[in-house]
């Protein structure tokens, strides 16, 4: 089963490799990982999407907690959350496809952030399903390049 895990870590050099090294060394799987500073600049927050059976997930959570640089681990699975990912897409903008791109940008509430003679760069945020749908619909138009941030996730309410 897929799990989204929030990991609060000391904001210092080498922490990312401690976490990623734990996953690779123990054969755990990382689907996506994103990390940045929190309001407290001494703390970074990671969002890790991983998968495994219950026993593996239990080990992942415990092993993360065991790292000295890890301050707190929260498994967001089964919790009401807001999930978002940001994606930048370079897409063909030929005279015959331009209209379709603009239409999709409008429907998905995306934004064109860069324009070149035969190419638009589009920014879109959404949960995983929305990102997937957007990319699927853009594909026939001709995607030149995609970059995604990986999922970030936060619990709803207080």
């Amino acid at each position: 089963m897929r799990h989204t895990i929030s990991v609060f870590v000391e904001n210092e050099f080498g922490v990312l490799s401690r976490v990623s090294g734990l996953f690779s060394g123990r054969g755990f799987n990382i689907e996506s990982l994103s990390v940045a500073e929190t309001m407290d600049e001494s703390v970074s927050r990671m969002t890790i999407v991983t998968s495994g059976n219950d026993q593996i997930i239990e080990q992942i959570l415990k092993q993360l907690n065991k790292l000295i640089s890890v301050i707190k681990v929260v498994d967001l699975t089964g919790v009401e959350t807001v999930d978002r990912e940001l994606v930048l897409v370079k897409v063909n903008a030929d005279p015959e496809t331009k209209a379709e791109v603009l239409r999709l940008v409008d429907i998905f509430r995306a934004k064109i952030v860069d324009v070149a003679p035969r190419c638009y760069t589009v920014e879109m945020t959404g949960d995983e399903a929305k990102v997937k749908a957007f990319l699927q619909l853009l594909r026939p138009v001709g995607i030149k390049e995609v970059v995604r941030t990986g999922l970030v996730s936060i619990a709803r309410g207080m």
Partner: protein, 564 residues
């Protein structure tokens, strides 16, 4: 008052009560060595290889319960420590390793004698540090000792760039250490402990499965009290040797791949396993799906990751064994229920006794070649079980575990998790430093002893009278045993035709050398060797065909033992 980094470092060691350091100098740590030259608080033992230094720190820690310290230079000095660190990590031994590093500005430039030792040791340390500024040095040194020795102990590495040692700062050693991501749980949950005792009392075929955690927690006497109150049979892992008296009738000896017949039968027929500071390693469980098929499992460990890692657990208890055993004893001590329980499980003890009598640990005695098991038995007799025994890895290690009885904790030093050949001799030297008056014996093979043999110079230099008994069979016995059993006797690269003359070799180093080639010489030669003033090699030429039994082939269930 401002001091330079090297002064801060050595002063911090002294203030933290460190009086022994095992090390090897080099360019990046020259300033520390200059400081040690003036210092009288910290005794430095010059080893002959950095790996030796770390194993000595490890042996010192295992034998004394204090944190061992190693100090080495950057680059190759640092990389040479890796096997020692991984050894300590697998067995949860508290050591702190200090490595020199090239100056901060040169880090990452492939400078002379540069190695990313923090990166290299990340997966085999409990934690590690690169010190970036002199002002942080004292605090980090204190944190390193705190982390190494608390919770589930383990090695911590501190990498110190040369400029950090040369620059000046105020000496600030914090009174208290707190690390916000580190809160080991020492107190077992009282409700869980109660449920555990309730479940235990319902059962009829209990086994105490005991690991190195009991020794690390200094809980051996509590364990003995608890086991005796309820009359529960005990089996220990390799790391648990000495956690429960080896001569006690409740002790079934070691379990697992080379465990005793009755310990393996007991665990396989048990209806309740109380696992204390053990981690269900593959060498213990055999085929995991068929491990203890009838048993409920209660698992007590200070490290939550050990619980539910290899086997499903019915009642997990995270806590320090000292605390948990105290709580357990309180619940049962002096109660009518405890007396009844002891009675109730008498048939179980009888059953185990029957198993023990049908297949006791044994070997075929012969008048000709010396049997290595006989040698270990003689060592036990002559030392009256009062020595500290270190082992190398392989057959020598298993025989040392099977045929010597360990009544006290911290008297059996062996690389259990990593299985490091070359561990025993330097570990014995470290143990001798911690226990100057004691007889320390390394039970070795002719293969293993050659892996850190250079440390004989260290033993001679510091007059550390470690005795090395070499069970010299001219082969890499354990690997050869597998080839014999599972590879149709094709001894690929396991014969050692070029074995040095260990007696001459010992003498060349300034130590004493002894040799026995016939069974009737063994006792006399051992006595002479043990009586020698300084370090001694005692070369016992053994039967190369002898194998370690019982043996559970890898991947087989514990009940499928090959017997003598």
């Amino acid at each position: 008052m401002k001091m330079n980094g090297a002064e801060i470092f050595v002063k911090a060691l002294g203030d933290l009560g460190v009086d022994v350091v095992f090390g090897y100098p080099g360019g990046a740590v020259l300033h520390i060595y200059d400081e040690l030259f003036k210092n009288t608080k910290v005794r430095h033992y010059l080893t002959r290889h950095e790996q030796g230094a770390v194993h000595m720190a490890d042996g010192y820690a295992r034998a004394s319960g204090r944190t061992g310290v190693a100090l080495v230079t950057s680059g190759p000095g640092a990389t040479n420590t890796v096997t020692g660190i991984a050894t300590a990590y697998m067995d949860s031994i508290p050591i702190v390793v200090f490595t020199g590093q090239v100056p901060t500005l040169m880090i990452g430039n492939d400078a002379f004698q540069e190695a990313d030792i923090v990166g290299i040791t990340r997966p085999c340390t409990k934690h590690n540090y690169l010190v970036k500024e002199t002002k942080d040095l004292a605090r980090i040194v204190k944190e390193a000792f705190f982390l190494a020795s608390t919770g589930r102990p383990g090695p911590v590495l501190v990498d110190i760039p040369k400029d950090v040692l040369m620059n000046s700062a105020e000496y600030l050693l914090p009174k208290e250490v707190s690390v916000r991501g580190y809160h080991p749980n020492y107190e077992g949950h009282p409700k869980q402990v109660e449920s555990a005792i309730r479940l235990l009392m319902e059962k009829e075929r209990p086994v105490l499965y005991v690991g190195g955690g009991i020794i690390l927690s200094s809980a051996a006497s509590l364990l003995t009290e608890f086991a005796r109150i309820l009359g529960i049979p005990v089996t220990t892992t390799l790391m648990g040797m000495g956690a429960y008296p080896g001569t006690d009738p409740l002790n079934m000896g070691m379990l697992g791949m080379h465990g005793t017949y009755h310990a393996n039968m007991a665990i396989s027929h048990s209806d309740l396993i109380l696992a204390l500071g053990a981690r269900f390693d593959d060498r213990v469980t055999g085929k995991i799906d068929e491990f203890a098929p009838h048993a409920k499992i209660i698992h007590v460990d200070i490290d939550p990751t050990s619980i539910q890692k290899n086997v499903p657990v019915d009642i997990p208890i995270v806590g320090d064994l000292k605390d948990v055993l105290k709580k357990m004893i309180k619940l049962v001590k002096g109660t009518k229920e405890a007396a009844q329980y002891r009675e109730k499980i008498a048939p179980w003890r009888e059953q185990i006794g029957k198993w023990a009598r049908t297949h006791p640990l044994s070997y075929k005695k012969s008048a000709g070649k010396i049997k290595p098991q006989y040698v270990v038995e003689k060592i036990y007799e002559i030392t009256k079980g009062d020595a500290i025994i270190a082992t190398e890895v392989g057959q020598n290690q298993m025989w040392a575990a099977q045929f010597y009885k360990y009544d006290r904790p911290r008297t059996f030093l062996s690389s259990g998790g990593l299985g490091t050949m070359g561990y025993g001799f330097p570990a014995a030297i470290g143990a001798q430093v911690a226990n100057p008056g004691k007889l320390v014996v390394d039970i070795a093979g002719d293969g293993s002893i050659q892996m850190n043999i250079q440390e004989l110079a260290t033993a001679v230099q510091y007059r550390l009278p470690v005795k090395v008994v070499i069970l010299n069979n001219g082969v890499l016995g354990m690997v050869r045993q597998w080839q014999e059993l599972f590879f149709q006797g094709k001894y690929s690269q396991t014969c050692l035709p070029q074995i040095p003359d260990f007696v001459k070799l010992a003498e060349a180093y300034g130590a004493a050398g002894f040799r026995a080639t016939r069974t009737e010489e063994v006792a006399g030669v051992l006595k002479k060797g043990f009586a020698a003033k300084g370090p001694a090699f005692i070369d016992i030429v053994c039967d190369p065909n002898e194998m370690v039994y019982p043996m559970v082939p890898a991947g087989a269930p514990l009940t499928k033992m090959l017997l003598v």
